[in-house]
Symmetry: C2
Subunit: 613 residues, 2 copies
Amino acid sequence: MDQVNGPRDLKKLSAQELTALSGELRHLIMDCVRENGGHLAANLGVVELTIALHYLYDSPRDKIVWDVGHQTYIHKLLTGRRDVFHTLRCMGGLSGFPKRRESEHDVFETGHSSTSISAALGMARARDLAMERYHVVAVIGDGAMTGGMALEALNDMGQSQEDMLVILNDNEMSISKNVGAISTHLSNIRTDKRYLLFKRGIENALQKIPLIGKPLARLVEKIKDGLKYLMIPGIMFEEMGLTYMGPVDGHDIPKLLSAMRHAKEMKGPVLLHVITHKGKGWAASETDPEQYHAVSPKKPEDAGKGFSKTLGDTLVSLGENDPRIVAVTAAMPLGTGLAPFGWRFPARLFDVGIAEQHAVTMAAGLAANGYRPVVAVYSTFLQRAYDQILHDVCLQRLPVIFCLDRAGLTGRDGETHHGAFDMSFLRHMPNITVLAPSCPADLAAMIPYAVSLNGPVAIRYPKNGVHSSFVKKESFQGGKWSILGEGDRGVIFAVGRMVDRAMEAKDILKKRGINMTVVDACVVKPLDEEMLKRFTDMPLWVTMEDNTLPGGFGSGVTEWLAGEDTHIPVVSLGLPDAFVPHGSVGELDAMLHLDAQGVADRIESALGRTRRT
Amino acid sequence: MDQVNGPRDLKKLSAQELTALSGELRHLIMDCVRENGGHLAANLGVVELTIALHYLYDSPRDKIVWDVGHQTYIHKLLTGRRDVFHTLRCMGGLSGFPKRRESEHDVFETGHSSTSISAALGMARARDLAMERYHVVAVIGDGAMTGGMALEALNDMGQSQEDMLVILNDNEMSISKNVGAISTHLSNIRTDKRYLLFKRGIENALQKIPLIGKPLARLVEKIKDGLKYLMIPGIMFEEMGLTYMGPVDGHDIPKLLSAMRHAKEMKGPVLLHVITHKGKGWAASETDPEQYHAVSPKKPEDAGKGFSKTLGDTLVSLGENDPRIVAVTAAMPLGTGLAPFGWRFPARLFDVGIAEQHAVTMAAGLAANGYRPVVAVYSTFLQRAYDQILHDVCLQRLPVIFCLDRAGLTGRDGETHHGAFDMSFLRHMPNITVLAPSCPADLAAMIPYAVSLNGPVAIRYPKNGVHSSFVKKESFQGGKWSILGEGDRGVIFAVGRMVDRAMEAKDILKKRGINMTVVDACVVKPLDEEMLKRFTDMPLWVTMEDNTLPGGFGSGVTEWLAGEDTHIPVVSLGLPDAFVPHGSVGELDAMLHLDAQGVADRIESALGRTRRT
């Protein structure tokens, strides 16, 4: 490893040395991830594949586009970032995903699934238009392949026939149990005995069969039945106009190199099917990859827990008495906390795989026929289904409940994983109610309330529970905000995780002789206008949210205020109009002056300005 | 036709009478669409299919889910809406799309493409959970089948094996030339001679071949080559776990009924491939379906024209000198005005079919490798690519230019086709510039400006040109707003089509002794803060936009103002927080008080209020 400072150095190594290198790399990433957290299993699965790619291709001249991007640790180690690898996922350090600013070898940024084939096809077209010569390779997992966008891209590339390679990294298990017909197709290729028969040579077998009438007829029948797997493994891809190659063992470097060399020489679009094992080389992760999909850093950032678990517990309890309750997720039954609901009611949990668009509209179909589906997805991934929420759910005012886990800042996964936009993109949708609990107890109260509304509802909440530096007097009541502490110098309307922070800031300000009222603005849409009117004589309003400021909660408050015949200065605190980088949530809060001290200072300063004017 | 007041009456008719009915229905819709405008070709193509569906199935007990929904005129005529059919697409009359409030036979609303299989699968699951017994049918065109969402749904239903029928209405031509590998696959099924050979009986052919060594080897070779089409037409769908049936002539009622009866009896998911001709029975529409995809009403609503044409002309002219300019569209080369660019530079126009997500990220790939792609899509359809704009383009600050045609109110297509949300969903995306020309000349100036910005830019403009009731002093200059007329009582910041309206309102107000300033706020993001500051001493601000008010342009202005140490009353005029129904743009403007008179009255009233306080 010490000899490898870039892809060029790799090309000098023998196959044996490459295999030795793979062992060193595994140790390096295991050590680092144990300290900093990260996507260990996915990276252990692509060690040999990444080595082979950089051995055969000439990056950055050749373009390697990684899907999702959480499996790029080896890629980073092999492209000159070994010395800073210990900063992985730390504030100011290496990102856990490809970043163009980090390296010229990171040619396309990502974090969400199923984008790589589209991006790679655009690059191949750019190359052909410019009459340049280089290779374009997309590396995509079997889970990501079920995303509609990847299928749109296959459909386009299959017809237009640009030279490019798609490496299907089939780890037999995406984040959770793999779902869908495509997965079944891949699994058939892997396991079908008829396919193995083919590998031994179907022609040989044919020659041994006596050439008389009946056996031939049987043979023809057999060919008809077994045809798909016998003759053309991957016929689905062949049908789409791609040349299918594989499957090949993704942990055997010589075999991998041989298959990839062959694929590299071919013209037109090629799909190379590589079989890998998530967590290869690390026992715990190999046996339970969903559990170990993302490893938390050694020192947990936040002691609290509970929103995801509360969702599961509440749904199980509601589901016992209300048969209309069903649950839908997109490959995240564990992460969203839905799993216990599925254990209790297996027929009532639908995991559609990585397919957020379909998840939402399928839920709309369930709702149109009498059910009350709860769609639990991470906030950032629900962005994929923006049109489905608006056009398929809100338009018809269907009773679908969206549970947006990981809303707001999520920490070390960074820019692509913060749920920074949900209040902005949901707030302008007609007919929807948007809720944001400040503690798990409120989430538990909000779910039956959401069911009772008989229309679209979104509930957004952060990754971790809150510190609960205060005890709430009353729990969530029918869509109303609640006052948590009263003061005469101004009012803080805080949303979700920020309620906790507002209470801390209130305490700091109190010591400085400034008494502020804090309101838990747990209903983001519609605003609690009664409560807003109650405070129109206050000298200052402060809004607090961990959502981007444009179009967010604070924006809704200023929209409302503009229609009133009164002037109140409003300070809107939230995320800036920019992508927030990676770091612990605490570090990011401090950077953005959203920590208690920062909030208190900004309020004090605003009060100073207000007095002046 | 007089005998048919509902699906039940249909079931009494003979096959011959059904065929006669199809002729009557064709005349009815041709007469109506000539008057009111509408999607003539699509409806003429499904006359027999719709008759057969309502003959065989028991709607609304059985659920018929239409994809896109523009082909439901026959369905409306057969389900008790004949008497009000002349109100089609008129304000307050029948919608051109399925609406649950219109009829219990409209079980799922739509307007955008590729949603039907997801919705139908949700309904099938609801049925099975409730242990009810009814049929669920999705009717989807070959164009819509390339949408990723439809493929996600096929993937899910292929594996989960619910009983349901997907009718693939293959009209060999979606809106424009059909694209993609799936289309090629369908075309192969239709035209492949080997498939015809299969129809005549491959087994018979086999028996005639002498059973000796060499011919058998050749036969095996032949089977291997021709396999896909010989044995299993539609193998792609079979591979996904669906039973494929067809193709069947969609204009032959007896054949159609026979195939559909068979499909209805089968268990598990079935795909029935029906071949139809768009515009069947109407010569002009049969030969040029894209041109006749949507027929304009007899009396055009708006005399002006020009944004789409301006886009095409400008791109052709820019493209001559700048080889980086390429264009991308999603099945709308004519509607968006891109076609002339494609005629001039065939290799530089990419029509990816109905696949907005892929269109955007493929463009991002082109941009990442040096090109300047212009993605032209209707505003409402770009909603499908929300995440791709945010996560694949804005995150990397890639120079992709989005041209959003049909922004704002679009008229008689109604709720699903207004571009009512674009400023709200774009304004909160980091790194993007959002422009809105008030006239085609400004669009022409904005495109080179957008190219020069080297980052993401969205330009949104309405369906028709503007009336140009005034002559602008100067054209668009480098991202600055322009003052169109000065007055001291207040300032109207108007966007796009609303600039014209603001000038008309200004004239009306002038006659009442009220002089207003009008500003063309042609840059929606970032706001022209210099211009805003210039007017902080005005007694009233008015914002005007044809976009929903939450999170829109006016919202941006009030957000900005909240940070200033001054109080100015702001009246935000725009679309309400609701789905706006169908009607002519003029009628809708009047209904929403966005016509000149309505705007003038609201400003006068606001000035009265302002004086009082």
